[in-house]
């Protein structure tokens, strides 16, 4: 029996409506009390001046294992996660082999459990080989631990296949997560189409590529009465479509990545390959629409689309550089920008990284309810630090925030009652 006390912190637990200064007690890996508790703590963490919240959930990451372990693996990704305060993450199926059969899903979960730092929930592929043609065995994948289905990285472009995917998945209560992009419009593009792509002389991806796919999918979702989630929404039009679908009562949800509400396409000027991702950084108007979507609740979740790449795949010029940036270690401080600027309350922001994704995916984490597994993040919301790509824990160094100042820093990450990250040090 070991008793851990986190004392004097400001406890925020949106799942249980808690937002107050309070002690938190953990016994044998479970939350046992909020406030007073009888017993003497074996270990105490002083959280005075800090926020104590459920361990963060990032429902959209690429862990690259199996297949591309030089970019990231489950261990390095787990270490990066806890350094960013993330204790549960959902990994996308575009690995090699893909997560399109149960064995791979089980292997990933087993490996994550061996590492033991962060829960890893695989997202199963919608189609075999992510080639957009034949559906995977979703029931089998679900039984193996997959919490949703997506061909992320590749859009499910074929309307007929998407219709069947929505109909089939929803028959069993599964959610389809779409990388919403119409490839006929975005082929060959590398950044948002507009003034910046014109100035740089590179092929753009028009925003209509995203909007038209979301519009189509919402129509199919309506007919199928399905569960549809738009990954990494980046456009004003997309947010408006999702908002209208929700008003209609459809089960349509979405997530936003920190880069899409913190940065614009201007970041690419100077051919910055670390500002290249898909969907691309868009205009200020789009950025503000994503922020409004977060504020009014259209966008339920903040997720990073953590996409580590090896520098060899980035150091080759903008149009041939790989898409994607790392995000796990900057997710919280970048999102805190929304709180510091008064757009979201601290509780709302934390909810979008804890209770909301847990609710969408049926995860047990994301709460500090009594008896729940003690996955906890403690952070100082005012602490300032400078992002240095060389000291990122992730194998991927592709961040647009290199050299930028962040406000807000994770001080402790607790996984099942064990302190796994403490003031910059990982306790393996």
């Amino acid at each position: 029996m070991s008793l851990l006390l986190i004392k004097n912190g400001h406890l925020i637990d949106p799942a249980n409506g808690i937002d107050k200064k309070s002690d938190l007690w953990i016994e044998d890996g479970k939350v046992v009390a909020v406030g007073k508790h009888t017993g003497t703590a074996d270990q105490t963490v002083d959280a005075n001046g800090k926020i104590v919240c459920p361990g963060l959930i990032d429902m959209h990451v690429h862990l690259r294992e199996p297949g591309e372990e030089w970019k990231e693996d489950i261990e390095s990704g787990s270490r990066a996660a806890i350094a960013g305060g993330v204790t549960s993450m959902c990994c996308m199926p575009n690995t090699g082999p893909h997560i399109d059969h149960a064995g791979i899903a089980r292997q990933i979960i087993e490996r994550a459990n061996q590492v033991g730092l962060c829960n890893v929930h695989p997202i199963g592929a919608v189609t075999k080989n992510l080639d957009g043609k034949e559906l995977t065995e979703m029931r089998e994948l679900s039984r193996a631990g997959c919490v949703a289905f997506s061909d992320d990285g590749m859009p499910i472009w074929h309307a007929g296949v998407m219709r069947k995917a929505l109909e089939y998945s929803s028959s069993f209560g599964y959610m389809i997560i779409q990388h919403a992009e119409e490839p006929a419009l975005t082929k060959g593009g590398c950044i948002n189409e507009g003034w910046i792509s014109t100035k740089l002389g590179v092929t753009g991806m028009p925003v209509e590529g995203e909007d038209s796919m979301i519009a189509r999918d919402i129509m199919l979702t309506r007919r199928a009465n399905a569960f549809y989630h738009v990954a990494h929404i980046s456009s004003k039009g997309g947010v408006a479509l999702v908002r209208a679908a929700q008003a209609e009562g459809l089960s349509v949800t979405t997530e936003a990545a920190p880069h899409h509400f913190a940065l614009t396409e201007e970041e690419v000027l100077g051919f910055n390959v670390d500002a290249k991702m898909s969907p691309p950084l868009r205009t200020e108007e789009d950025r503000l629409a994503v922020i409004e979507g977060l504020r009014d609740g259209t966008i339920d979740v903040i997720a990073t689309d953590h996409a580590p790449h090896h520098e060899d795949d980035k150091r080759c010029g903008l149009s041939c550089a790989a898409f994607g940036i790392v995000g796990l270690e900057t997710m919280l401080p970048v999102s805190l920008g929304l709180v510091h600027s008064g757009i979201l309350t601290m509780s709302d922001m934390i909810g979008k990284m804890t209770s909301k994704p847990a609710e969408l995916l049926g995860l047990e984490s994301g709460t500090l309810g009594l008896g729940s597994e003690a996955d906890i993040t403690i952070f100082d919301p005012e602490s300032k630090w400078i992002v240095d790509r060389e000291t990122l824990v992730s194998k991927g160094k592709n961040t647009p925030w290199h050299g930028k100042e962040m406000t807000g820093q994770v001080t402790h990450t607790i996984k099942a009652g064990r302190i796994v990250f403490e003031n910059g040090t990982i306790h393996d």
Binding site: K199, D312, G317
Partner: protein, 313 residues
């Protein structure tokens, strides 16, 4: 004091003074090219490498002649047939050549931003952009400005009407930037399928109809049309219809006024964007552009090597 040039990436990085300096320096080099003995010692002991990842005859030859007439040692590398075929990365190729200590690396590549990218990693080597993707082609624009200077003196207040595939044209982008800096007007003419997004933000006039754009033009600048690009991307149904809609023929040219010059960056597709009678007419300054291209590239190499016309040694 003028800001000295370290590299020549594009018109975007240059101010008016730098542009005019290079045009004037180019002007001073025209004569050498017309002498019986076409050699000056300006770049003696300097090494220039032409690294061309895209096919090019005129630009590569122009840089080669420019370097040689100024006594530089010029090496040509056609990367399509060398290291890159073996899978060497662009960066490795650049670093390998830079390790051989050239003074100038002249680069053409299909990827926009190649020069800026390489310059981050290569020290002590001046980089000249000989055309990168659809981004910039600064020596072509300097060449055009030198050609226009011969007739106009200054381009200020003039109207240049550019016709063709603006979307994929690095020449167009560099001219649109130069126009703003030097005070001339660009009219661009193309169907919407060949215009890049938000092109009007350059401050240019946009036309879809060539016959509306020509009157009042002081120069007509025809862009080469890549016929495979036209039809593959559904930008245009046929070469026939393109020529009918946007091709420059003598009848159309007459509507532009008597003093209107005709320019083309080459190579031309006769019968596509330009009719033979126009290409060969007295109004055509297309061969003058080619001649001035050598003088401009001499000026660029001299400026980047620190030589300014005399023997510095």
């Amino acid at each position: 004091m003028m800001n000295p040039l370290k590299h020549l990436f594009g018109i975007a990085d240059m101010d008016r003074e730098q542009i005019e300096y290079l045009v004037n320096l180019g002007h001073s080099f025209i004569d050498i090219n017309r002498r019986p003995l076409k050699k000056a010692p300006t770049l003696r002991g300097k090494t220039v490498i032409n690294l061309f990842f895209e096919n090019s005859t005129r630009t590569r030859t122009s840089f080669e002649i420019a370097g040689k007439r100024l006594s530089a040692d010029v090496i040509n590398i056609s990367a399509a047939t060398s290291a890159t075929k073996k899978g060497e990365s662009l960066l490795d190729t650049g670093q390998t050549l830079a390790a051989m200590q050239p003074h100038v690396l002249v680069i053409r590549h299909s990827i926009s931003g190649t020069c800026e990218f390489l310059a981050e990693y290569l020290d002590n080597t001046a980089i000249v952009n000989a055309g990168d993707g659809a981004h910039e082609h600064p020596t072509q624009i300097l060449t055009d400005l030198l050609t226009l200077k011969q007739t106009w003196g200054s381009p200020e207040g003039k109207i240049i009407t550019m016709v063709g595939d603006i979307a994929h044209s690095r020449v167009a982008r560099s001219h649109l930037l130069a126009a703003k800096k030097l005070g001339y007007t660009m009219r661009i003419v193309a169907p919407k399928t060949l215009l890049p997004a938000e092109v009007e933000r350059y401050g240019c006039e946009v036309y879809y109809d060539i016959d509306e754009a020509l009157p009042g033009s002081d120069a007509v600048y025809m862009l080469r049309v890549q016929t495979e690009r036209l039809t593959d991307s559904c930008a245009f149904p046929s070469v026939r219809e393109y020529h009918e809609a946007y091709g420059l023929n003598m009848q159309r040219l007459k509507t532009a006024g008597d003093d209107c010059l005709v320019l083309h960056p080459g190579p031309m597709n006769r019968g596509v964007e330009i009719a033979t009678d126009v290409a060969d007419s007295v109004k055509s300054h297309i061969l003058a552009q080619v001649e001035h291209g050598v003088a401009i590239r001499m000026a660029v190499l001299a400026a980047l090597c620190g030589g300014e016309g005399g023997d510095e040694s």
